[in-house]
Each structure stands twice: as structure tokens, then as C-alpha cells.
Symmetry: C2
Subunit: 209 residues, 2 copies
DNA sequence: TAAACAAGACACCAAATAGTGTTTAAAATT
DNA sequence: AATTTTAAACACTATTTGGTGTCTTGTTTA
């Protein structure tokens, strides 16, 4: 019995699966999670929607597999210990936060995922959130908690506000008028002002805690 | 001709309009903007959906009127000059920011509007955003810009990050796992940690700019 | 009180949407 | 080469959705 996966030019399970998954990404990027209708996905993929049921058990299965297989935050947990840390992680924290900010502004897919997570309850998204939280936990418990000692939680709170702020501002720039607090988030100057502010606040936190 | 608006116990235009508008609010609060389907609104209102077309010209008209007639940010532009300002607006800014944070956590409707604005393009929502921006502009140009002089833009950038951060954290707490950077945003302690951090960052900004 | 008006109930249509049954033919197995 | 398997097209159903036409009857006006 045991049938080999189709490797032909016309019928090919793996290739069709890929087409579906990439169609999900394409639609998510352009229309957001609300645009993930099964008919449209099939149309974009160029494969009959029936296959979504046979391959993934349905729309939910496909979407969950998409979320599971994408590595949205690959940039972050990249190189933790590239350089020795002797400043309590100040430079490293700045680097992580600011590169996060730029990464997000470029990557519309991740922006949509952020929005998605705020809008819809979904196990696979929750898992994504938990993993991200675990990831951050490494930075805190390994590097900044030891440095800040009894003020460790305060630093975490500052981080929360800064990261959350950068998340929101990026989503805002994409969808709203782009001007927030009089700063044009779509210009390089505006974005630099935000990054300088974050940098400044990190400095002050390291100085003043 | 000139017919008086129906004031009967059974048929009453104004009352029905109100029912529709309040149904929109109720659904928005519980299910978010995606739940604003015309059939469901009519069901919640207890009035035939046909009336939505005759009164508001359709679903969009109803929704726009809802947005127009609600005063989501009434708490903010309340009392600008309650006390004399001699600290460059430090106390006032803190007060505005922190009360904003608490207000948002209590008011689910406004949370949904924030999310809505990030998700859907809509003139009436855009207008809301612009009005809010104009409102903030008063605080900046009247109070903080003069105080910070050439660093005025830097303070605006800091404000942007802090306000955006508080927006995001409130939405996050409502929908996601509630723990962000190791801080439980649903507990009083966690929320206090965030507020302390914001307060701390404002202090440092006033000290250090 | 009778006539005119309009609120709104009810039934209907059309489009979009998720999901399934049947058939075809491409590719693997024998 | 014949047979079996199954990828995938096609056609279909059911449900949800927005939107409209018609008729009844409460309410206002004359």
C-alpha cells in the first residue's frame, strides 16, 4: 500500500500544502486576519478548497498550521550573547528594543499578527504569545533582574511600557493618520524621534533605578 | 402636512433610534466591531432592521452616527486648568496619563474603539482620531512645548511612547494572557507597577531634558 | 370620527460563505 | 500495460449575510 507522495508536475500534495500556507501569509499581510476566508485562500493558492479539508481538516487547521510553522520573531532570539555584557544589559536591551521597532515597521505580517492577537481568541496564537513571553523571560531573569536587584520589577514594568508603546505606534502608523502626539510616524525623522525617546528612557532607567 | 414625531407607546421613532444606537454600543462592548452585523443589531434592539435603512440610510449610517454621538474621551478634555501650572505641566501630564490608563482599563467600549481604529478604515473613526490629536495638541503647544523649548519634540516622542504603551497594555490585558514582561496586568499590583513606571519615566523626562 | 400618514412586522431576494458528494484523470503500484 | 490510488476539479447544499417590497395597524391630522 504505502503510497509515495506525488512528485508529478500536476499533482503534488506537498506543493499544494505550501501553496495554501503561503496564500494565508499573502492574505494576512494584505487584508489582515479578517480576510482569511476559505474561498479566497483557495483562489489565491490556485488549488481547490476541498484540499484544505483533506490536508488540514478545515480552515482552522490550516490557519493553526500556518501560525505554528511561521517564525515571526526569529529576529529577536537570534544572538543573545554576541558580546560580553558588563553594563547590566543596557546596550543589549537598547539593541533588542530598537531593532524590534524597525523590524516591526517593515514586517506587515507581524503587525497583523499583533492585531490578530488582540482581536481573536485562538489557541495557536495564545501559544505564540506564551512563547514570546518565555523568550523575554530569559532576557529579564538572566540579565536585567540580577542587575536591578530589588528594582527588577520596576525595570520590567518600564520595558513593558516601552515595548507595548512601540507595538502600538507601529500598528497606528500603518492604519491611522500616522501622526501621533504631533509626530509623523511615517517619516524617518518621526521614527527617529521615537527611537531616540526610547533610547533616552532606557538610559534614564539605568541611571535612575 | 408636517407630521409630528411619533410619540405613541408602541410606535416611536426617537425611541427606536435610541434602541439601535444603544444596541450598537452593547454589541461593540461585548463582541467588538466585527460583531456589528445588521441582523444582530436589529435583534438586540428589538426593532426590525428595515428601520435601520429608513432612519440611518443603512448599517454604515447607523454606525457612523453611533461614533459621532458618543463622547468616548469626555474624561480627558474635562478640566484643563483646574490648578495653576508652575512645574512645566509635570503634575498635570501625570494626572492626564495615569487617569487615562485607569479609564481605559474600565471602559471596554473605548478599548474596542481603539482596536477598531487599528483594524478598519472608516471616516467617522478617522475624525475621532483627528479630534483626539487636536486635543492632545492643546496640551503640548500650550503647556509642555513652552517648557521644554528646543526639546519639545523629544517630550512629544516620550509622550507618544508612554500613551501608546498604555493603550496597548490595556488591550493586551483584555484579550491575551494578561502577563506581559512578567507583569500580570490584571492584578492591582501589576497595574500599579505600570503606573509607577510611567510616573517614573515622566519624572526622569522632566529632570533630564 | 374619518382620512392620511408612517412605524414596523413579515416575507422575500441575492450574494457571500463554509462545507460536502461525485467524478476525472494523474501518478504510483502491481 | 493494467490496476489501484488519490489529487484535485466541479457541482452542489446549507447557512449567514445585507438589503428590499408589501401589507398591517398605531398615531396623527383634518
Amino acid at each position: 500500500m504505502e503510497r509515495k507522495p506525488a512528485g508529478g508536475a500536476i499533482r503534488n500534495t506537498e506543493r499544494s500544502k505550501e501553496k495554501f500556507l503561503s496564500a494565508v501569509g499573502k492574505i494576512l499581510k494584505t487584508k489582515g486576519y479578517a480576510g482569511l476566508k476559505i474561498n479566497d485562500i483557495a483562489k489565491v493558492a490556485g488549488v481547490d478548497k476541498k484540499m484544505i479539508y483533506t490536508y488540514f481538516g478545515g480552515l482552522d487547521g490550516l490557519i493553526d498550521e500556518y501560525i505554528r510553522t511561521q517564525d515571526f520573531w526569529s529576529n529577536v532570539h537570534a544572538d543573545m550573547a554576541s558580546e560580553p555584557i558588563d553594563d547590566g544589559g543596557k546596550a543589549f536591551t537598547k539593541e533588542v528594543f530598537l531593532s524590534q521597532f524597525d523590524y516591526l515597521s517593515k514586517n506587515k505580517e507581524v503587525q497583523k499578527v499583533l492585531l490578530w492577537r488582540l482581536s481573536e481568541e485562538r489557541k495557536s496564537l495564545r501559544k505564540l504569545t506564551d512563547e514570546q513571553e518565555e523568550n523575554g523571560e530569559v532576557l529579564f531573569s538572566q540579565i536585567t533582574d540580577p542587575h536591578f536587584g530589588k528594582h527588577a520589577e520596576k525595570f520590567r514594568a518600564v520595558s513593558a511600557v516601552l515595548v507595548a508603546g512601540m507595538y502600538y505606534l507601529n500598528m497606528y502608523a500603518e492604519h491611522n493618520g500616522s501622526i501621533f502626539s504631533g509626530i509623523d510616524l511615517k517619516t524617518d525623522d518621526g521614527r527617529k524621534a521615537i527611537k531616540d525617546a526610547v533610547s533616552f528612557l532606557i538610559d534614564k532607567t539605568y541611571d535612575g533605578l
